[in-house]
Subunit: 198 residues, 2 copies
């Protein structure tokens, strides 16, 4: 891919991608028609097809895009975290919010769609492998714990998996209050389990 001289083209492509993940989160895989995505982006179907010849191409790019978006969201929000005793709770909350936002919804639709689409599956598993490792490292860092201590690795992974599960539970019904209690409790458990911070 060479550098597009037209900013307009870039902007259109960008909007197409944003509309794609937006539609994915709202309407699901089957509902995210190229026509729908194009309409949301404010361009014609032909224009969308110009940028992404086939539907597969569009959503393959969308996979990358949603990965980047989740990455930057995490980076953005992990900046301002308290450092006192309530840090653990804040970190858990951040992680859970990562898995309950619209980006995760889009990613979830991508996952299940990838179940029955070989092409998509390949894109998604490689992305999720990278992303998963990154999130794990970030969680270690934010919690200020050492992975070499036995049990820590599994505990952190369990935290991430629990966050995924909470996100899943939040799919159909708003789960806010139940979630808050669980986050509180889990933060307590984490502090009691791997309290090796200064």
């Amino acid at each position: 891919m060479r550098q597009p001289q037209q900013d307009r083209s870039r902007a259109t492509r960008q909007r197409l991608l944003e509309s794609a993940i937006e539609a994915l989160a709202e309407l699901g895989w089957a509902g995210s028609t190229v026509a729908v995505v194009a309409e949301r982006a404010g361009v014609s179907r032909g224009a969308a097809q110009h940028h992404f010849p086939t539907r597969e191409d569009l959503f393959a790019a969308a996979v990358e895009y949603v990965g980047d978006a989740r990455r930057s969201w995490t980076r953005e929000h992990s900046a301002d975290l308290p450092s006192g005793p309530e840090r653990t709770r804040a970190v858990v909350d951040l992680i859970v919010r990562l898995y309950t936002g619209p980006l995760f919804r889009a990613a979830l639709h991508l996952w299940v769609a990838a179940t029955s689409d070989e092409q998509l599956r390949a894109s998604v598993v490689t992305l999720e492998a990278h992303l998963g490792r990154e999130q794990h490292k970030l969680a270690l860092e934010l919690l200020g714990v050492d992975e070499s201590v036995p049990g820590v690795r599994e505990t952190v992974q369990a935290t991430l998996d629990m966050a995924r599960g909470l996100g899943l539970a939040n799919l159909l019904t708003d789960d806010g209050k139940r979630r808050a209690g669980i986050i509180d409790r889990w933060a307590e458990i984490l502090d009691a389990t791997l309290n090796v911070r200064t």
Copy 2:
């Protein structure tokens, strides 16, 4: 619904439902065409349509069916659990297996499909509300803990949510070894956190 005099009809309906959730787990929502389901059940499309006039009717019934199946699966497997110190680990393993089997895969496809289908959504949320409560009560019972103790409720719910998350992670890639370590660790944490058993 009156009692069907023909066993044959009942059997056909049964096979239709089983094929539906089987197709759901393997091919996903969009791939589970009524033609596909009918073919898997060994009946014609018209026969399927005779039992379930519309596709919605078929999968509405499938929602009930997968709920019953998960219920009976749990009941069936919760019978033979050890009672020694390794019971906690066995219980956690059982719960996680409930969320990693084909039944959960089918349910997951149902969930995400229900995201963009109002009819289906209604069926799924009511089912999941009941089922969730049941699983929670069962988990309390199997673990032998008292919900009135503060924190216990949240901890058990966290366990269920983590199981959901593990099931989700198991969607695209086989996750067996990683899962085993997390289950071990989780059982340790549970024992340390809510050890009120004799």
